[in-house]
């Protein structure tokens, strides 16, 4: 007799079975609607998918686990944020210069998290396969969480420090913030497969470890318990996002041989775009962490040359090679952070964060980390500027820079073969001349000129009178930049005055 024993519990399904139930067979085939009308975006990029069910999330994450562990992450994070605020954690950071990295973070990175939320919500609707759709939907929720937790964390610093008060407004207007904004808008206006190659693969898998891993470890080292906590909380989702990036690439490559050249072209493009965006991170790591862990160069070697090398070695069996111009990035690693910081130093009057010339101790560290370039090229520059500053002639660059039509960064990078010559490329298209910072950006334009000739370039827009007026103060008002507080050097800023006040209060307590 096979009477079920009421006391015997049903066998728990295995992880593989649970994931299969979530992602297989719940969908239906439409009968009275054309499938192409339901999923209008999956064909036009030329990617061919024969079997959507071949995609599998290798973590096999199911809804119940997702909500359970995300809730746990939130509880842990908010406990730390509360504790940090309650215990005046802002007073225990290494130095108030560090806060300037957070100003860049909240204006340049957090709005990207929100843009990523929108992008993944879109592709999470438009993929035909349930596996990738669910992975994208999880990620859409993650990205919204990242934007929120970053705003919540950094809002505490906004009570004390300048430049943190209007990040989303600034993101849409401030000249250097058009770099991250244009990066993401380029990705989000592409098709769903290019979007995933851009964001999930090139950005998340190949590049963001450089932002969220060594920089966050640096935040911890500089006493910012709140930021390291949101950083690692976000990064724990990122491990899943990176995996989605790698899996979707392998999925496209396995599904049809014709997909290989399309995917390679996207990898080339989005490696270069992401790498250019990271110039700001290079500068944050080398110049804006008062206590330093590793240099940009070391991080690039660890995460791209070694980590990325292993990844592309693995992908070579599908016919994928390292991204075009990776050797240029290698040549630039000795210069990247120094060229970025010295550009911002010259435009400190027009930026929503403070700059400074590096201390002697920092320059010694740079010389050790960058033996091939720092003392030869960059120390003389800082010595010159420091002397000018001491003589009351602090150097500001009052010209408006030539921006690259693609990455929108001022064309300040040098030739990969000659660090004393500025690299510029031009191209005439429909009778108009366009300028680029590099062969990488030039090639991206050449492939889709009709997309990039529409770029909203801040300098052009200022000159056309679309940014609040014709003078720098008018433009800065239009940015909502609080002039005299947010901009100029750290020395002499209200941030410095506040910090020194806290430090002297502490010394008085110790002395008494």
């Amino acid at each position: 007799m096979n009477t079920p024993n009421p006391n015997e519990r049903l066998r728990k399904l295995s992880l593989k079975e649970r994931y299969a139930h979530l992602t297989r067979g719940l969908d239906w085939q439409p009968t009275y609607q054309d499938k192409k009308k339901i999923f209008p975006f999956t064909d036009y990029e030329g990617i061919k998918i024969h079997d959507w069910d071949a995609f599998e999330d290798p973590f096999r994450l199911t809804m119940d686990s997702y909500w359970k562990y995300q809730a746990e992450k939130e509880r842990k994070l908010y406990a730390v944020i509360d504790s940090f605020a309650q215990n005046n954690g802002q007073m225990n950071i290494s130095d108030a210069r560090y806060i300037n990295a957070l100003k860049i973070f909240i204006t340049a990175v957090s709005p990207l998290e929100y843009a990523a939320h929108r992008g993944f919500a879109h592709v999470g609707r438009h993929f035909e396969g349930v596996g990738p759709r669910i992975a994208c939907q999880f990620q859409a929720i993650d990205e919204l969480r990242h934007a929120q937790t970053q705003i919540h964390t950094i809002s505490h610093f906004n009570k004390f420090f300048d430049g943190l008060h209007d990040p989303l407004h600034m993101y849409n207007r401030v000249w250097y913030l058009s770099v991250p904004k244009s990066f993401f808008e380029d990705a989000i206006t592409a098709g769903p497969f290019e979007f995933l190659t851009a964001v999930s693969f090139s950005f998340e898998y190949v590049l963001t470890s450089l932002l969220f891993v060594p920089f966050m470890s640096g935040a911890a080292y500089n006493g910012d318990m709140a930021t390291v906590t949101f950083g690692f909380s976000a990064q724990s989702d990122e491990s899943r996002h990176m995996t989605l990036g790698l899996e979707i690439i392998k999925f496209m490559l396995q599904q049809d041989e014709g997909n290989v050249p399309i995917v390679q072209k996207w990898i080339d493009k989005w490696f270069w775009r992401g790498y250019r965006l990271l110039s700001i991170i290079a500068m944050m790591m080398d110049y804006m962490l008062p206590k330093k862990i590793m240099s940009w160069k070391e991080a690039w070697e660890m995460y791209f040359e070694q980590g990325g090398g292993a990844l592309f070695n693995d992908l070579s069996r599908y016919g994928i090679r390292l991204p075009k111009y990776h050797e240029v990035a290698k040549a630039e690693k000795d210069h990247y952070s120094h060229q970025a910081w010295s550009t911002f130093y010259q435009y400190s009057h027009a930026s929503a964060f403070h700059t400074w010339t590096p201390s002697e101790e920092e320059m010694t560290w740079f010389a050790e980390k960058y033996p091939a370039s720092f003392n030869q090229l960059y120390r003389p520059r800082y010595d010159y500027w420091a002397k000018a500053e001491a003589d009351g002639k602090r150097f500001y660059n009052n010209g408006l820079p030539q921006l690259c039509q693609v990455c929108q960064i001022p064309t300040f990078f040098t030739e990969p073969t000659d660090p004393t010559r500025i690299s510029t490329r031009t191209k005439i298209y429909n009778g108009e001349r366009f300028y680029f910072c590099s062969d990488g950006c030039h090639d991206i334009f050449e492939d889709e000129p009709e997309k990039y000739l529409q770029s909203w370039l801040p300098v052009h827009q200022i000159l056309q009178g679309n940014c609040g007026g014709t003078t720098v103060p008018e433009v800065l008002d239009w940015y909502h930049l609080n002039q005299g507080a947010d901009n100029f050097d750290y020395l002499g800023s209200p941030d410095e005055a506040l910090w020194e006040n806290w430090q002297s209060a502490r010394k008085r307590v110790i002395a008494s």
Partner: protein, 90 residues
């Protein structure tokens, strides 16, 4: 050429136990400690066993809990009920 797979974990109480379990199960693992995090590299393949982690933590451990501690990974992932594998296939 042998490529390293890699995992980075937070320096938390759970994180320390997981690192100890990984070291016990992967003799070739190389551990680097940084502020707030630990990076582990291993040639070609790295395994994280549920039972080893449970032994270290002294409690039941669902591998999906790694979500709370993991900072970054490098390598192809395969997870089931008993173990999480990171590997390069070449």
């Amino acid at each position: 050429m042998t490529s390293n797979v890699s995992i980075t974990l937070q320096n938390t109480d759970d994180g320390r136990g997981i690192v100890a379990a990984i070291i016990a199960d992967n003799p070739e693992a190389v551990v680097s400690t940084y502020p707030a995090m630990t990076k582990i590299d291993c040639p070609s393949r790295l395994i994280m066993n549920k039972t080893s982690i449970e032994q270290q933590l002294g409690r039941e451990f669902d591998l999906h809990e790694l979500n709370l501690t993991m900072v970054s990974i490098s390598g192809n992932v395969d997870e089931d009920d008993d173990r999480l594998l990171l590997m390069w296939n070449v």
